[in-house]
Amino acid sequence: MLNPKPATYEPAPLIEPGHTFASISDKIGGVVLSTKQPLSWFVVISVGMMIMGMLGMAITWLLLKGTGIWGVNIPVGWGFAIINFVWWIGIGHAGTLISAILLLLKQGWRTSINRFAEGMTIFAVMCAGLFPLIHTGRPWLAAYWLFPYPNSMSIWPQFRSPLIWDVFAVSTYFTVSLLFWYVGLIPDLATLRDKARNIWVKRAYGALALGWRGSARHWQRYEHIYLLLAGLSTPLVLSVHTVVSFDFSIGIIPGWHATIFPPYFVAGAIYAGFAMVLTLAIPLRKVYGMEDFITMRHLENMGKVTLVTGMIVAYGYVSEAFFGWYSANKYEGFMIWNRMTGPYWYMYWTLVFCNILTPQWLWIKRVRTSPFGLFAVAMVVNVGMWLERFVIVVTSLHRDFLPSSWGMYYGTIWDWMTFVGTLGMFLTLFFLFIRFLPMISIFEMRTMAPAAKMHDAPAGNEAH
């Protein structure tokens, strides 16, 4: 074909037409400053707090009795605590991917979803951090072997252990995510300060806004470090789940000791995280009427990322199985065969169903552009990624090298109460955030308004 016509592709707008600086500010800021909240907010926060109460009970009993109330024992010495830790920390990764990596890649669609995705990251990391803290049942003793500080025993943490790397990775990740989130919030806090009519509300937001006034000199430094923070967060987020995977892969347990682990864990983290972002975004936009800002195009893009990362995760599963066979190592071979056909076969095949088969629905545009379809897929993936961590942790441990030390592992009621309890903690924190802070970045949304265009260039949508 000679001179084929260039394909014209006009992506859907990232913000529904007709919005002005004022309407964006009022719509998003209004949710926070309004004295009314939708009924569903009260329902979710009440349920969340009740479940969080259960977490309080489970932790109290743990501190009184010790880890004997949990299902862990030899040979499965790692159970729900690490499964939940990895699951939660993975969920957090999507927030950083959206806020940092997509910013560097100039993906304009991140703007509508980065704020609450970053909030999700922070709350997910808080839930994750709870598990290493309580997993010994004696958290008051955890300080000296986790953090390097001069103590009366003159002993220091073991920096050759991946568990210490984990402490540094996760605490750095939490701190940097919080900084990034707060920096992003400063101009919006100023908007809330100026919009609020109640003097105490004004003072509260005013104190947090640090006196931000939108000066060009301030904005220049602000944009400078915002980009630098994105650049710092990008390798950081990749390092965090890599270090988490080292917890396993540095060990010599068949099923853990694999070089595929770091990339496979990072992809799985982003996969789980996007599923959680979808789980939160779809109901939120409906309840708060944010369809103008979180459009179908946003949801569809998230669906695509979920599909791609899901395929990488599928590749990871295939590689694991291939290694088991190709290594010709009988322990590796037995491990993978046992994983597929052993006592936990149903876990393995449910996870294949959830994480490999279910996301294939996203190839179909009608599923990808239907909130219900996306929500259903996302919920299945949430479950699937938890199962993945269960399978990796438990099936690798429960068949020890000697058959005399084989065993089974099941979570007890206290394990389940702790796990479900963190879901309540997450919901509670997230819905408090929705109530008190703008769920979408107001100032970044203003840059998407048609009036913000500085040049009258044709087709000036730089965010493809």
């Binding site: 600086f21 004022a22 500010s25 009022d26 390097p148 220091w156 943490p157 073991q158 920096f159 050759r160 991946p162 210490i164 790397w165 540094f168 990775a169 750095t172 701190t175 940097v176 900084l179 990034f180 920096v183 101009p187 100023a190 908007t191 300060r193 100026d194 919009k195 005013g206 104190a207 640090l210 006196g211 931000w212 006034r213 939108g214 000066s215 060009a216 000199r217 301030h218 904005w219 220049q220 430094r221 602000y222 400078h224 470090i225 630098l228 923070l229 710092l232 967060s233 390798p235 950081l236 390092s239 270090v243 080292f246 100032f443 970044e444 203003r446 840059t447 009036a451 913000a452 500085m454």
Partner: protein, 183 residues
């Protein structure tokens, strides 16, 4: 306010209001070209053209962040080498005391941590924040600088500043309103 007595004109400056970013940038460019240097713009979102127009570009933060990162790296190296070679040398699996490849992850995390802290603290300090009071807040309409309006200020300590002629100059820039700012 003590400063009120030191300012020759008795006001902090003149604030011009604009409805859209293009008008703001055009006005800022003309104000800069007219020789005013003590000027600033206020906008509800970052406008690159605005800080270019007032001739502001501060690159110090790059170096501050780099210094933060290097400090973090050295902290990581120093801490781990000191712990494992001097303070608490323990033979682990026959590895040398200086088994540096295993110190890389913590060094990396501390580099990022210190660099990020330097970035945020550096931005806040260089911007002179927290600054709860600023004369611009005295103008009632200024609260829209965080919503939908754009402002340009000429401060009264600019050598070219004159209460009357500067106000006339700003009015000639298509400003929708020009207000005197109380100190």
């Amino acid at each position: 306010m003590d400063t009120a007595h030191t300012l020759p004109s008795g006001i902090y400056g003149l604030l011009a209001e604009f409805d859209d970013p293009k008008a703001l940038v055009a006005a800022a460019k003309r104000t800069y070209a007219a020789g005013y240097r003590k000027i600033d713009t206020f906008s509800p979102y970052p406008i690159e053209e605005a800080w270019e127009a007032i001739g502001h570009h501060d690159r110090r933060l790059s170096f501050i962040v780099l210094a933060g990162g290097i400090t973090g790296l050295l902290t990581g190296v120093g801490l781990q080498e000191w712990v494992h070679e001097i303070a608490y040398p323990v033979n682990i699996a026959g590895k040398p005391l200086n088994s540096w490849p295993q110190f890389v992850p913590v060094c990396f995390e501390l580099t990022i941590l210190f660099a990020a802290l330097a970035a945020v603290i550096g931005m806040i300090v260089l911007n002179g924040l927290p600054q709860p009071y600023h004369p611009a807040f005295n103008v009632e309409r200024f609260e829209r600088a965080s919503r939908d309006k754009f402002f340009l200020i000429v401060e009264s300590d600019d050598p070219k500043f004159d209460r009357k002629s500067t106000a006339d100059f700003l009015k000639g820039l298509n400003a929708s309103e020009v207000t005197e700012v109380e100190p």
